[in-house]
């Protein structure tokens, strides 16, 4: 542990490409999509990719025993971050697989007696799609709406619970707008009604404090690359007391207590473990860092640009995720203009479609504002000078695009934009 953190006093830890001064790469502000692997995580993984490459399930030789030991240590590190027991951690290929396993696994196991699930309209695509699949299998699903703040209404949630509700799945931190749900209250309600509580904590783990016992969480999804770990690995917390039973969605050799067959990828899990341990030590510092930069970004843009709207209640948001709508301009054109800044509008997994984000729609965002939203992601390795650069560029291009915008012109002439009759070609 000491060796992992000996660089932590020097906050000049940066991803390798910056050291080589690759000026051609954009400034990275897409933390919700992915993050650079922390160099300390990479260090911890290398031995398991080079010399200690044994399969952790090989029982008969040193290679296997060493790998197994490393995987067990990773389990402890992850459990430590969320106050779980190491036996409750199941390794998966990422939060998407964890979400699939939690939803489909629990629903299918209890299918005979319970056939209702509650979730929200702002969940990640993999949760919504899993629910849709379960509907085809005969499970009823309630998709709760959210308030303008992005939070669910707790009374509405409690009312939606039926005697045959088996699971509620509500994400901790939203990946598009950064809103933090009232997890502790939701957990209390679920425990009261004996409903299993699953939360997709991919954007939350290591960033805000999570305690699965205090929050009455029964299932929790973790993503490696969201907390500066490697891509391709994640974990699912499955509570043992009271026991959560689920049907495995992957069949095979019965690894991970029969819940997830397949060779556990020791280098990746070691990386995930290291990332979690770093996060448990540094999360407070990271949070202050993100908050400071986030405040700077929002204040800077607000004061120099104006006519912007923040999506999601800033009081209940993780500061590292800032989602802003810029009136009178189109989001895609702003993104294209900001070629040397890596940001996104809508989430990465839905960016292929031209539809405005369903999350913003669920917030009740106006069509035109939903189309003009940009998501800024601030992370451990974001610097203040990068934020300054972004504010400058935003000011420049937003003003430029507004100059060209007929909507801006009409607004300045005092026309109420909601009265416009849009004609078809």
């Amino acid at each position: 542990m000491a060796s992992l953190l000996k660089n932590s006093t020097q906050r000049a830890v940066r991803p390798l490409c910056r050291f080589r001064g690759l000026a051609s790469l954009p400034v990275y502000l897409d933390a919700q999509a992915t993050n650079p692997t922390d160099p300390r995580v990479l260090d911890s993984m290398l031995p398991y990719l080079t010399e200690q490459y044994g399969n952790p399930h090989s029982r008969t030789h040193q290679y296997g025993w060493d790998s197994e030991k490393a995987v067990d240590k990773a389990r402890e590190q992850i459990a430590g971050l969320i106050n779980a027991h190491p036996k409750e951690i199941v390794f998966t290929s990422g939060a998407t697989e964890s979400n699939n396993t939690a939803l489909k696994g629990v629903a299918r196991f209890y299918k005979g007696k319970k056939k209702h699930i509650i979730t929200t309209q702002t969940e990640h695509k993999c949760v919504l799609d899993s629910c849709r699949k379960l509907q085809e299998e005969g499970i009823d699903v309630t998709y709760l709406g959210v308030k303008k703040s992005g939070l669910i209404d707790l009374e509405e949630f409690e009312k939606a619970i039926r005697p045959d509700t088996v699971l509620a799945s509500i994400m901790t931190v939203n990946n598009e707008i950064g809103v933090i749900q009232s997890i502790e209250e939701i957990g209390k309600i679920c425990r009261k009604h004996k409903v299993f509580f699953h939360t997709d904590a991919a954007q939350a783990v290591g960033k805000i404090p999570i305690d699965v016992n205090a929050m009455n969480i029964d299932l929790l999804s973790i993503s490696g690359h969201k907390i500066y770990g490697p891509k391709g690995v994640g974990a699912l917390f499955v509570r043992r007391r009271p026991r959560v039973r689920l049907e495995a969605i992957i069949s095979g050799g019965g690894q991970e207590r029969g819940l997830r067959s397949g060779t556990v990828p020791s280098p990746l899990t070691v990386g995930l473990g290291a990332a979690c341990e770093i996060a448990s030590v540094e999360h407070a510092y990271d949070y202050e860092h993100a908050k400071r930069l986030s405040q700077k970004l929002v204040d800077g843009i607000q004061s120099r640009v104006g006519h912007i709207e923040r999506n999601g209640d800033p009081q209940h948001t993780y500061p590292g995720c800032v989602n802003l709508s810029f009136s009178f301009i189109e989001g895609e054109s702003l993104l294209m203009a900001l070629k040397d800044i890596a940001i996104s509008s809508g989430s990465a997994c839905t960016s292929a479609s031209l539809e405005p984000s369903y999350v913003l729609r669920a917030l009740g965002s106006r069509e035109d504002l939903a189309h003009s939203s940009i998501r800024f992601g601030i992370g451990r390795f974001t610097t203040e000078s990068e934020i300054d650069y972004v504010i400058d560029k935003i000011e420049h291009h937003v003003n430029r695009l507004r100059e060209m915008s007929p909507l801006w012109e009409m607004y300045q002439e005092g026309i109420d934009l909601s009265t416009i009759q849009w004609s078809q070609h």
Binding site: K87, R241, P242, R243, G253, G254, R257, G258
Partner: protein, 130 residues
């Protein structure tokens, strides 16, 4: 066919499919029962029950008795037991009693587990198999 000294039980010929079904049923129902038992024993953190690949492992945790292992033995159509109290034993299936029995004693697997686990955990254990 081996000589059986058991007075009560009689071994039957099992085909692979029937053996697989019966042995799975026995081990699965034991697993479920022991899992529920473990859930009740809130103070026993180290109590653990794992059933995977046809092997059932029961760690008695702070009851201090050690580890039980039960596994399928398809070539002999048996269930094998390793008990930290009474040691190793092998069990054949008797259809008329729907029980797994030991050829050397007159005891069934269910009876042995019931008596040993009741002793270990200090409470009445209702093993779900004969």
């Amino acid at each position: 066919m081996a000589v059986t000294r058991s007075q009560k039980y009689r071994m039957i010929e099992l085909d692979e499919i029937k053996y697989e079904k019966l042995s799975s049923q026995a081990l699965e129902s034991l697993t479920e029962y022991l899992e529920d038992l473990g859930d009740q024993m809130v103070d026993n953190e180290e109590f653990d029950i794992e059933y995977s690949q046809g092997v059932l492992t029961l760690r008695t945790g702070n009851a201090g008795a050690g580890v039980y292992v039960l596994n399928k033995q398809p070539p002999n159509k048996q269930i094998w037991l390793s008990s930290p109290i009474s040691g190793p034993e092998r069990y054949d299936y008797d259809a008329s009693h729907d029980a797994w029995f030991c050829r050397h004693t007159d005891q069934s697997l269910g009876q042995l587990l019931k008596s040993e686990l009741t002793e270990i955990f200090g409470q009445d254990i209702e093993i779900p198999i004969n």
